[in-house]
């Protein structure tokens, strides 16, 4: 049959509800992210601290396991907020690597292929577009941060011989809150930077650069100006202090010497998120730039 004889008609099937239409972007985002083998490897690698943590919790709570491993006299290792802080820190830094890999995949391709005008000509607003992409990152990062951490906490609560859960509920709350702040920051930074550059290669580098370079600049500022305020550019340092406070871990020596308050850290992180939102507002537009 010749192609020109075909008659075209509109789609007659079930239509996606208008409110959830942006989830189409999420669905395609997930399929794009999972299409890479490296994503699978990285995602699996992100669970390594959790698995080690599970084994440690089991051994520390089981006399038989301790006896079999010859570890009856282990001292110094207790399943408390320090232990959960260690696992949380590992999970969150692995989440950064995962973000650097999958974040730029989500938006950069649309930017480099000039696909935004086509996507935004559908009944999807700019913010729904961002939300659709954000959900992908948020889900992936949640799956490697607060979800496994809560699992660990639940496992310890189940295995503990003494009543443990009620007295240590703050650990669960702190881990969820700390992880959610980290996930929100990472997601926004990744999307903002990916929208700024066209190429994924550059996007990956920029995400690492955005975390480490301001920390270095803050360090230079501290050293030259003899102040502590440069730490407000140091995301790893601020997050460590925040996680310590949320999990009620005693402050380390270097932390005690720094005079940063929790409101200052919160304002700095909020400003960073606001800057990312501003970048997204500027960049996510249905326009095509043609350079001659």
């Amino acid at each position: 049959m010749s192609v020109y004889k075909r008659t075209y008609h509109s789609y007659m099937g079930e239509v996606t509800p208008l409110r959830t239409r942006f989830l189409v972007l999420t669905r395609y985002g997930f399929s794009d992210v999972w299409s890479s083998r490296i994503t699978n490897i990285l995602f699996a690698m992100c669970f390594l601290p959790t698995v080690i943590g599970l084994v440690m919790i089991y051994v520390m709570n089981s006399d038989v396991a301790k006896l079999l491993l010859g570890a009856q006299n282990i001292r110094g290792l207790t399943i408390d907020q320090r232990f959960f802080f260690g696992v949380m820190q590992s999970q969150c830094w692995l989440a950064l690597i995962l973000t650097a890999w999958i974040g730029p995949r989500l938006i950069s391709a649309d930017m480099s292929d000039n696909a935004l005008p086509i996507l935004l000509s559908r009944p999807i607003t700019r913010w729904e577009y961002v939300l659709g992409k954000l959900i992908v990152l948020w889900t992936m990062l949640s799956a490697v941060t607060w979800a496994p951490l809560l699992l660990l906490w639940g496992f310890q609560a189940y295995n503990a011989k003494q009543p443990w859960a009620a007295a240590n509920l703050f650990i669960a709350g702190g881990m969820v809150a700390g992880s959610l702040i980290w996930v929100a920051l990472l997601s926004l930074v990744a999307l903002a930077l990916s929208s700024w550059v066209k190429w994924r290669v550059v996007g990956t580098g920029l995400i690492f650069g955005a975390i480490f370079i301001p920390a270095g600049v803050g360090g230079v500022f501290n050293a030259v100006m003899r102040t502590d305020k440069g730490f407000l550019l140091n995301i790893p340092f601020m997050m460590t202090i925040l996680w310590h406070r949320l999990l009620r871990v005693p402050a380390l020596f270097f932390e005690q010497r720094v005079s940063l308050s929790l409101p200052e850290i919160s304002i700095a992180l909020a400003l960073m998120c606001a800057a990312c939102v501003l970048v997204l507002h500027r960049r996510i537009r249905a326009r095509e730039v043609v350079r001659g």
């Binding site: 690597i97 650097a100 890999w101 190429w199 994924r200 290669v201 990956t204 580098g205 690492f208 650069g209 480490f212 370079i213 270095g216 600049v217 360090g219 230079v220 500022f221 050293a223 030259v224 100006m225 003899r226 270097f254």
Partner: protein, 287 residues
């Protein structure tokens, strides 16, 4: 054996060195212009010159020299060892040298070069030299300005420290280390950009490698740029905790040996890159 040597000599004498030299200069000129005068290089200027801006602010804010010159010397050493070597030059070279080959692949413009009647090694060397010119221009001037500003602050005392004291020697050392860092990191990132579609994860692994290098066996310590540069630092920095890994010198090495170490490592890496360049195939569809 003698015959082979004679053959090799004849082969070497037959090569069109003059043509290669002309082509190399043309590639360097073209690439240097593209790297130095590009809007996309602005962030590298930021990386290089942000400490200069902060030190300049310090000069304005603290004109009464409340801080001593000795303290400022340590501050400068810290800025150089922890910021410039570990972050500024590292990420700057990652940006400059990854763009040379991989950037052109992403932009889909490398085939223009490959279609030209130029040996690929010449092309690669030209690009590498242009990258080095860009990196050296930015970071050498930034380090020089940082040094000048921090001592200009002290007037005559600062001048005496630089001209009659250890200052000039320190400046020479900083400039030399900067050049070696640009060459070393540049060669490695150029190779990584040819080996991987996305060189950043590999660069981050390399960053981790450089960080943990002092605790590795001495043989493995030789496959690192920072481990050589540590031996050339004019001012030793006492660091505590994890950061001590960045400045600790585990095994003393003579300065000339450290310098040769970086140069040999760079030459080997550029050699491998030349070999890779000969076998390079472009598949734009997979980029």
């Amino acid at each position: 054996m003698r015959e082979r040597l004679e053959e090799a000599k004849k082969w070497a004498a037959r090569q069109p060195y003059r043509l290669w030299w002309v082509q190399l200069r043309a590639v360097v000129r073209l690439e240097a212009k593209r790297n130095v005068l590009a809007w996309r290089s602005l962030w590298i200027y930021f990386l290089g010159f942000i400490p200069v801006v902060i030190i300049g602010l310090h000069t304005i804010v603290d004109p009464a020299k409340a801080s001593g010159m000795g303290e400022d010397t340590m501050v400068l050493a810290g800025i150089f060892q922890l910021y410039y070597i570990r972050l500024g030059i590292f990420f700057g070279c990652l940006g400059i040298f990854s763009r040379l080959i991989r950037g052109e692949m992403v932009e889909r413009s490398l085939h223009y070069y490959l279609l030209a009647p130029v040996r690929r090694e010449i092309l690669l060397l030209g690009k590498f030299i242009a990258g080095c010119i860009t990196a050296l221009m930015i970071f050498e001037s930034a380090v020089f300005l940082s040094f000048t500003l921090i001592y200009a602050h002290y007037g005559a005392a600062g001048q005496a420290f630089v001209m009659d004291g250890p200052g000039l020697g320190q400046l020479e050392a900083y400039m030399g280390i900067t050049a070696l860092a640009c060459l070393g990191y540049g060669s490695i990132f150029m190779l990584l950009s040819m080996l991987f579609k996305n060189p950043t994860p590999a660069a981050m692994i390399f960053m981790g490698w450089e960080f943990i290098n002092p605790i590795l066996p001495s043989l493995l310590q030789k496959i690192s740029i920072a481990s050589y540069l540590r031996h050339l630092m004019p001012v030793s920095m006492p660091m505590h905790g994890v950061l001590a890994l960045l400045t600790v010198v585990t095994e003393p090495v003579r300065p000339w040996a450290a310098t040769m170490g970086v140069l040999v490592l760079t030459a080997v890496v550029v050699g491998i890159s030349c070999y890779r360049m000969r076998k390079l195939e472009i598949r734009y569809t997979t980029e």
